[in-house]
Symmetry: C3
Subunit: 263 residues, 3 copies
């Protein structure tokens, strides 16, 4: 994988402007919608059981994020995920905080079983907790390095058939055989809430536009991390980073990608 592929995939998203259906958490909805718009995609948020299957029917990808769970929402996630499988629409799953409570661990397992996601993205702790229900996480922040979770990610990919992503100082993207790396980004990104959730939504846009899930997911993570790294350079703190990140995604050029990408 290289900078040219990243640029080509980004151009594809901008041209196709796919509709991405998000069933996500209350904290990040605004950010993920804005990131998808800045990217050139078309976000929609809908969670009523009365309409999720209809919305999935017109969407290019379904993003399921369990950041702020509750019963009706889980019901909608499962219904939407089932319909996505029927339609062959890719499902991207973000197991936010799995391992922090038994309820999260149980729901994450059910979503994987029922929705058979094409991509699963989490931090080191979350990916490890998906494999081993004894792994404890501290709320929604990772207590494990991304490096330490690579073996778990490969095993999880093998078990589920999903492309698995670990976000961290190095991002790892694996289909269980190949392991791709993205070394862009900046630790200040961990001080903006929902950057991980935004990465998951961005993956949704890329897999909606490209059938090769590993390539699309790799490009999505590279775009996230490159844009974050460039935005940090203009930012005095996490407040301005949040703003500059959207501007940077909106303007991201082939030259930016070429000059910044590090694998």
């Amino acid at each position: 994988m290289n900078a040219e592929i990243i640029t080509q995939q980004l151009e594809q998203v901008r041209q196709k402007a796919p509709l991405v259906h998000n069933i996500t958490n209350f904290v990040v909805m605004n950010n993920t919608a804005n990131a998808l718009l800045a990217l050139g995609a078309s976000p929609v948020m809908a969670h009523a059981v009365n309409e999720v299957t209809d919305m999935v029917n017109i969407a290019g990808a379904l993003v399921i994020n369990m950041g702020t769970l509750s019963e009706h929402w889980v019901e909608a996630m499962l219904a939407a995920g089932k319909q996505a499988k029927v339609n062959g629409t890719p499902v991207v799953f973000d197991p936010v905080g799995v391992g922090a409570t038994p309820y999260r661990t149980e729901v994450a397992q059910k979503i994987i079983d029922v929705c058979q996601p094409s991509v699963i993205r989490g931090n080191g702790s979350e990916i490890m907790a998906l494999l081993n229900s004894n792994t404890k996480t501290k709320g929604v922040d990772s207590t494990a390095s991304s490096e330490s979770a690579v073996d778990s990610a490969k095993e999880l990919a093998g078990q589920t058939g999903a492309v698995v992503v670990i976000s961290g100082s190095t991002d790892y993207i694996t289909d269980g055989k190949e392991v791709l790396e993205v070394k862009n980004g900046d630790t200040m990104m961990t001080k903006v809430t929902g950057m991980g959730c935004t990465a998951t939504a961005v993956i949704g846009a890329f897999v909606a536009a490209e059938k090769d899930c590993l390539k699309a997911t790799f490009a999505a993570m590279a775009v996230m991390s490159i844009a974050g790294e460039l935005a940090v350079k203009k930012s005095a703190g996490p407040g301005s980073l949040q703003m500059n990140f959207l501007d940077t995604i909106y303007q991201l050029s082939a030259a930016d990608i070429e000059n910044t990408f590090a694998e």
Copy 2:
């Protein structure tokens, strides 16, 4: 209508600081509350069936936005809308994504029937979908120009008695007879989520302060589009636009309006 009327209406909102009760969607709550505060109004968000009628009783306007629907919320919207009619409090309705799913189309119709809104604001697709349930929309983004929906808007205004607004590169505001135009704004505004929803909330503040709904709605749309246009000039992308928009609304002067308004 002219710049002087816009300024006079804005001053009236700033002086009266009306309480605007919003039952709106999860994605935009923060933005619309901030826009109302920057404008000089006082926003409140409340959606529990246990309290919406009490909140309507102290509010100057009720804004109903169906961006992220579910059953309990629809129940609260209908209860609040009924109470607003009893009190003679204006209801402003935003039929987000109507036409995207049968559920949205059904709920929108029910809200119009029960709450008899004073103002309905949507994009071209949404206004057309309200009249013709066969119109398809792509999620929450418009697939029709605002121009193409003018006849639908006039007919909808005639049928419902509401002032109908179509947002777009030109905004149209009609009571079924007169059609007013606002030609300000910028396409970058479509890359910030919830700009339409914010326009609806801003209309809420203006109709809370002014009995003449057509005049108030026209002025609200002009303030939105002028502030957006001025904010885009200072913005490198949708991230900074979101920030500059709030600053611009907060500072908007008679001279800004005089120098920028285009009809």
Copy 3:
């Protein structure tokens, strides 16, 4: 209390990075999560009855904010609050809009009775409404000065055993005997939604890191008001204030505190 104590308390939060469990409103979740991250704490938002007690078990403090109430949320607040009392985990309560509707007044009373908060923070109207159910508030904005509520705050502290905070142009922090003051801040902060809710969340981080609730709460309010005051100086309006506030909290130094603190 003095600038050195404020700095020492802030350093303690940064070093301990406590997990703060928030059951809060839809409008401000993003802002409060970002403020906690910028401060160096670790926020988690969770509201499902199925998991709130498990989340409380790993948290350093529980923040309950009733800005956007509904039945399931109240149930979760009470369950989480009970568990916090069992664990000896401090509960910080924000009675948003109490007095605006009978439902809010009833829920606020129930939360105080069941959860026995360590700290209660509100604006002048809210603190007065907690003592006198006949006090009317205008939605969620205060109609009373902070000064006028000091006697009510002292009485409420005496009745409940909580440290009580009144936010306003002067902030008052009292345990019923001592009354501490913070005179920093700026009126532009009232034009950004959720600044009060953010103060409550910030108190959560400080009481998670420090057993002396009065000292911790005083320092939290001082950090909020100092950061707000410094951020306003760089801001053209409430949009840029929201951004600069997060950057300022992130960077806040001992010298900033020393040079700015006013009591």
